[in-house]
Structure formats: C-alpha cells, structure tokens
Amino acid sequence: MNQASKEVNSERHILHAVLQGLVTGLLLGAAFAAGFLFRDVVNRPTPSQTSFDLLREIDGLLASHYLYEMPDETTRIHGAAAGLVASLGNPYTYFQEPQASEVDTTNLAGRFGGIGAEIGRDEQGRFVIQRVYRDNPAYNAGIVEGDIILAVDGVPVDTSATDSNQLLAAIRGEVGTPVTLRLQRGDEVFEVTVVRAEILIPSVFWNLVEADPRIGYIKITSFTERTPEELRQALSELSTQGAQAYVLDLRDNGGGLVDSAVAVVSEFISGGVVLYEQRRGTGERVLNASQGGNALDAPLAVLINGQTASASEIVAGAFQDRGRAILIGQQSFGKGSVQVILTLSDGSSIHVTTAEWYTPNHHRLEGQGLTPDRTVEPVEGRDAQLEAALEYLSERLALVEGEY
C-alpha cells in the first residue's frame, strides 16, 4: 500500500510540478506582455523627447534628400542651438559659435600689449594722441595729448584710411618689443621709441574742478577688475589736493562687473544693502557694502544719462535709495538683467540671462531704469549736466561750512 501510494504520490508530484511550472510560466509571460503593452503608460516619453525625435527626423531627411550642398553637421547643430535660444525672445540670451567667443573676456579684464594712449583724428584727418594713460610707456616717454602721429617704425601713416585699425595694429604688439613713433608737436617733428608693455586700460579718470577746487570730478567709464583700486587712487589724490565734495560721472558707462560696482559704492557708503539679486528658484540674494570706505561723508552728485546701464545703474540706484547722493541728468538705460557666459563642450558658448537686479528699495531696473532727482537735458556747447552738479554741490558745501 505504502509503496503504491508513494508511486502515485510521486506521479502526482511530477504532475503538480509541471502544472506549477506551466502556471508560473504563464503568469510571468503575462507580466512581460503587460509590461510591453503598457510601456508608454509606464515610461511616458517627455515632451522634449518626442519633439527631439522630430529634429532628428528632419536632420535625417535633409541628409538624404536635400538637393544642394549642405553645411556640415556642426553648422546645422549650431543653427539648431541658435534657433532654440532665439525662441526665448530675450535679446541678451543668445548662442555663440566657437570663434567669436574669445573676444569678450579680454575686454572685462582690461589688458593688452601697447603704449598706453588713445588715438583719434582731427579735422584734417590726421591721427592724433587723444589721451595718455598715466604711468604707462607713452606717458613715461613724454608723449602728450595733441601730438600728431606721422609715422610708425618709419612707415608713414595713411591718412586716407577709413579707420584707425591698421594704425593700432602697427603700434600694438608683443610686450617688451620697441616701437618708434614720429610725432609732430606744434612746429617740432621728433621721434620717440617706446617699449610696449601690458597696458592696463584705466576705467577711472579724475581731476580737480578748475572753477571750484573744493570739488573733485571723477569719471568711471566701466566697472573692471581694477576700477575699485583706481577709484581709491583718485579719492586719495583729490582729497590731498583739497577736494571736499565729488561729482561721480557715470554717463555712457555701460556696466561691467557687479563686485566692482559694490566696491565702488562701498567707498561712499559703509555697510548696508547695495542691491538685491533674484534668480529663478533660489530666491533673493543680498549684496551689502563693505566697511572702510574713504569718502563716507563728502557731498556727492552722480551724473547719469540714457547710456548709463547695468552695473552703473546699480551704483546710482544704491546711492539714490540710500539717500547718499542725488542723481542728475537723464533717465538711465534700464538694464537690470544679469547674464552669464557658459562655455560648452565644443568651444561654443551661450549667453543666458540668469537673474535680475533690484535697488535697495526693490526698484526693478530692467526696462525702466532710474529717474534722476534733477532732470537736465544736454545742451550744445557746454556741459549743462556737470554745471548742475557743481551748483548742487556748491550749495551743499555752503551748508556744511555754516553759511546759512
């Protein structure tokens, strides 16, 4: 009995095992099929995935059928990238192909190999030294504003040239190499040899106001890495010369580095808010003025116009909202958006607006700009805006000196 039932049992066991195997197999097969059929529900393609297929589809169709010669793959992809960025509709956000990228960074750093002078043209079309940068080779060699350039390394200057590019290219060169200029000053013609150096383009120019030597005039042309240092030098010199009030001229200053702008504000205001920066998602960031400024009490007037933009508007806006200075001139440009330049894996780059700046009173700069406390339109033949600033400062100084 036991033997027989054991055999029957083992047959049943085998049957059971086979049935179990079949059922398991069917179950697993059904699970697989379900996964297969419901693949899209489970793993829904993102919108960008499906429409990217469209881009690849189109690129493939072009490769197969387009009649004419096609630009190479890289050009097509760069075109797609440029079109993508353009669709954002923001004028400051754009894509740049590799060769163009390099130019940007040098300007903000402020260096190149030359003699340290600005060149312009007079009414007769002759090339003239328009400005000499202090403490640079041209300055040290005694070259002054007004000198006419007749030849460079023996080659006469071509006065019929449409621009100064060729002349500048001849004067500039490798640091440490000499260049000989033939100059005319009045009736005198002479030659001077200058050794090229790495020229640090100044961004700050200053002088004591001739009409009122209690006032120092400071012009900042852009906010570079060296601007705060140059400003300190200006303040130091001017205060030594007797300046008690300042005109800060930010007209035509298109902006620059925000850290530089904050440092400039810090010369005149001790601590507290200079600006707010808002990025998508991360909320608000505050930038405060530091301590240790050199002109915390002197009356201050700031000149602005329609080309005063970006970092310049931060500076002017901080002064206005903190009550440190009045703004004189015209409505500023209205650029409070911040861009970063990101380099991509093949050397191309993208400029993208990542944030916006707000003044201490949360005034939005973008598209609006700053309204001057005193509006003064430019006038032909004289600097009416500067005159208004001097008038204001003169009044303030009178108060300070106790003349009521």
């Binding site: 960008s48 189109i58 992809i77 993508l84 954002l88």
Partner: protein
Amino acid sequence: MTSKEQNTGHLLRNLALTLLGLMLVCLVFLSGVMVGHRLSTAGLLNNTSILPTIPALEAEDSGPDDADFQVFWEVWNTVEDRFYYDLPDSQTRMYGAINGMLDTLNDPYTAFITPEAARILREDFSGSFEGIGAYVEQAPEGGVYIIRVFEEGPAEEAGVRAGDIIIAADGIDLTDMTLNEALLHVRGPAGTPVVLTIVREGEPAPLEITVTRARLDVPTIESRMLEGNIGYVALFEFNATANTRLRNAVQELIDQGAQSIILDLRDNPGGYLEQSVDVADLFLDEGVVLIQRDVDGNVREYRSHNGDFAEDIPLVVLINGNSASASEIVAGAIRDQERGVLIGETSFGKGSVQLLYELSDGSELRITYANWYTPDNLSISGEGIAPDIVVETPTEPTATDPQLERAIQYLLTGQ
C-alpha cells in the same frame, strides 16, 4: 520541533516565497516595459509616418548620432536650468531649433511649417475652405486685417468691410497669435456662427458682428469672352482644383464661340506640380512637359498626351515677373513645344521642386529635392522664361492693360 513552531516556520516560508514570487512578477513586468521601449525608440514598432506627395522616398536612418547633438543638449539643459524668465513650452523651443537649423541652409524654399499653418495652407490649396470669405493679412499690431471681402460671401453679407481688424473670435483674443493660428479660430464648419470683435476706423468702440460660415471656393479662375472671338481665362494659382476649373472654363469659352485662347498666368505663384502638368496637357499633344532631376541623379519625365480638346486652338500665354514655378512649367512647355506665343515680361525663375513631408505631429517639412528642366532641357532657375513679345508692366496703375491688349492685337493681326 513542536507543531506550533512548524506552523510558524511554514507561514514564514510561505510569506517569503510569496514575496519572492511577487518580486519576480514585477521584474518581469518591468523588463517587458524596457524591451518594448527599446524597440519603440529604434523605430521598429512605430510608423515613422512620412507621407511624401511625390515619389515614395524613405527617410534613411542616416541621421546623426546622439553624440553629434551633444552641444545642442547642453544648450537645451542650460536654458532649462538657468534662464531667469518663464520658458516658452518645449514644443515652441524645439520648433525654434528646427527653424534655426533650416536657416543654415539659406534656401528660402526649404522650410518647416507648424501644424496650424500646415492646416490652413492645406485647406487653401485644396481649392475650397470653410470660413467667412475674405482676403486677409496680419495686422501690424496683431489681429486679422481684412484686405477685401469675397463678393456675396458671408463676411460681406454680415457687414464686415475692407480695413476692419478682427481682434477676437468668439471672445478669444487673436492679437497675440500668428495669422495662421488666428485663422483657425475664424474659420470653422460651414453653417456655424462666429462672433467677430472688430476694430473699425471711425468707430469709438469695437463692434461685434456675427458671421455664419460657409463653404467657399478659393478664387482660382476668371474667364470671359473678348472681342474677335477670343476666349480669356486667368488662372490665379495651381491649387488642387486648377486643372478641373481651367478645363471647364476653356470648354465653356469654346462653346461660346472662342476661336483662340489667352491663358493669363501673370502673378500666379505656382502650386502643385501635377496640376501644372495636367494644365499643360490640355493644350499640348504628345511630348515632354518637364524633366525632373533629383539629388540622387534620378531623372523623371512628365509628359503630355494626345486627345485633349484644346490642342490646336491658337494660344497666347501672358506672363510677368511674378509668374513662378508651376506657371513657368506651363509656359516653358508651351514655348519649347512651339505650341503658343508668350507675351509679357520675363518670369520669376523658380526651377526647383520641393518635397512635402507631413511629420508625426502634423507639422510639415518642405525640402528642395530636385530641379526641373523644360522640354528642351533648359534650366530656368534664377533666369526665368523670356517672353516672345516683351511688354513691360506699367509702373503706375493705368486704366488699360497693355500686355492683354498686345495679346489681343497679336491674335487678331498675327503680329
């Protein structure tokens, strides 16, 4: 072991087995998803849905690797992560990318057309549409500007006038849309009403006019009898109804006693290639109409055949600088087969052919894929077709039509 411990042991063991079993089922399910997805993206499951209108060419899988698009993805991701303002939706961005890529080709005829624009264009070129009946363009400050209303069309009957600007349709603001997007709201099934909000010069406030849409023909043909038993027919575009309507018009003219025909193709910008072949065939007996050569060197001849009812009747074709593409096919065939006289100005000079692909999301890609040549194997690209008798278009509007008059003169006098 006690019986109780045995039972607990059994329970735990069963539990563990069940859990393992469930895990296995899930794993297998997921592997089904993965395999299905892989096959899907490799294009082995989906219909790649490419429907060309002329020769059945297939998109080879010769597209770029994802590696080539690396930089594009870097830009895409950077924009999504860092851009300060609200992003347009991903479809808008992708369309921007597509247009950017096509711009690098510098071929104005190779173009990407959004689904909305494609619908409108397809409707326009079908020869009839359902809407209010007006010639329109985009108003400079947004909205739909009425150039002219169709005579006796629904818009005219409801009181819409030339110069009106439609700023809303059924309350939907049109001023932020492209023209084609806006038209999708203005058009609609025949018999249905649409409330148009209209800005009209001289009216202090916007007007609301309700128009009942109708099925309307796209103006394609105009014909009449002229002096001297001359039959005149003007064809405005080679849409899907061009050939049929032209044949009807010419037949009618012949029935009315026409002994010669003036076919006016001035300002006709072209259209479907097959329509132009059929139109040419009406007037030509056995011969070549055009020769097409594509990027792969394939040569295709389109021919005309005997047996049509206008193959002998004296024929003049009017062309001008805006006669392009399909119009030039017809004029070129008639010239090279010495079938008729061309009068007017040198034509536009568009000798390329575009393939129309409908893409998976309803958008359309037009690719220049071939050039066409006249029966004498001449390319007209950039040069156009020179008329046999040159008559310039007057620079200022005149009451007379010198090109038409010269055609009449030729037919009546033979010079």
